[in-house]
């Protein structure tokens, strides 16, 4: 069964304190791995897509990386406005374009 597990469930950082969020997955043939940001009361907003092991994507203070079993979302020198829930999703081959989501990591950045 295809599964996506995110850790930690919650993370509190001081402003400027870098850290990483983890997304581990077990799918039979990865088609793509996606990172989303979700603010309270809003729909998820797309951040990155990764397709193959070794791939990296960057956007401002965020950097996503991918291995054969997991992905990391690195947050460098976070600011309070980075506080949000970060969701990971995978799309597996042969699943009719379905996306499977993890339960998310709730990030709080304290000024």
């Amino acid at each position: 069964e295809d599964q996506v597990t995110q850790s930690p469930e919650a993370l509190r950082l001081q402003e400027g304190e870098s850290s990483s969020l983890n997304c581990s997955y077990t799918v039979s043939g990865l088609r793509g791995l996606f990172w989303y940001r979700q603010d309270p009361g809003k729909g998820p907003e797309f951040l990155f897509t990764l397709y193959s092991a070794g791939e990296e994507k960057e956007k401002e203070r965020l950097k996503a990386t991918l291995t054969k079993k997991e992905s990391f979302l690195h947050i460098t020198a976070p600011k309070p406005e980075d506080s949000a829930t970060y969701l990971c999703a995978v799309q597996a081959r042969g699943t009719g374009n379905q996306f499977y989501f993890g339960t998310g990591t709730s990030l709080t950045v304290i000024p």
């Binding site: 469930e9 998820p44 999703a89 009719g96 989501f101 998310g104």
Partner: protein
Amino acid sequence: NAGVTQTPKFHILKIGQSMTLQCTQDMNHNYMYWYRQDPGMGLKLIYYSVGAGITDKGEVPNGYNVSRSTTEDFPLRLELAAPSQTSVYFCASTQVTGELFFGEGSRLTVL
């Protein structure tokens, strides 16, 4: 550009009542999805559609129905509402494969 629009944003339903959550997108996307999001449970796929006239069940379809008569619209019907259907419902769309575009969500309470 409106993107994905969901209505209503909030609704309270009595047990046994029925209602339809509306979703429309203006990006000419073929793929549309309905997810529900419960605290600590992540996003669970209810139904999805790969084009007008084609729908398929996701992980948690029981108690719901969908139709896709046009490319733009993908309504979700709740029949005989139960308290277990209290949740936040998100509609999303994408083109072929790639990032999902989400609506703002419909917050449903069944009492």
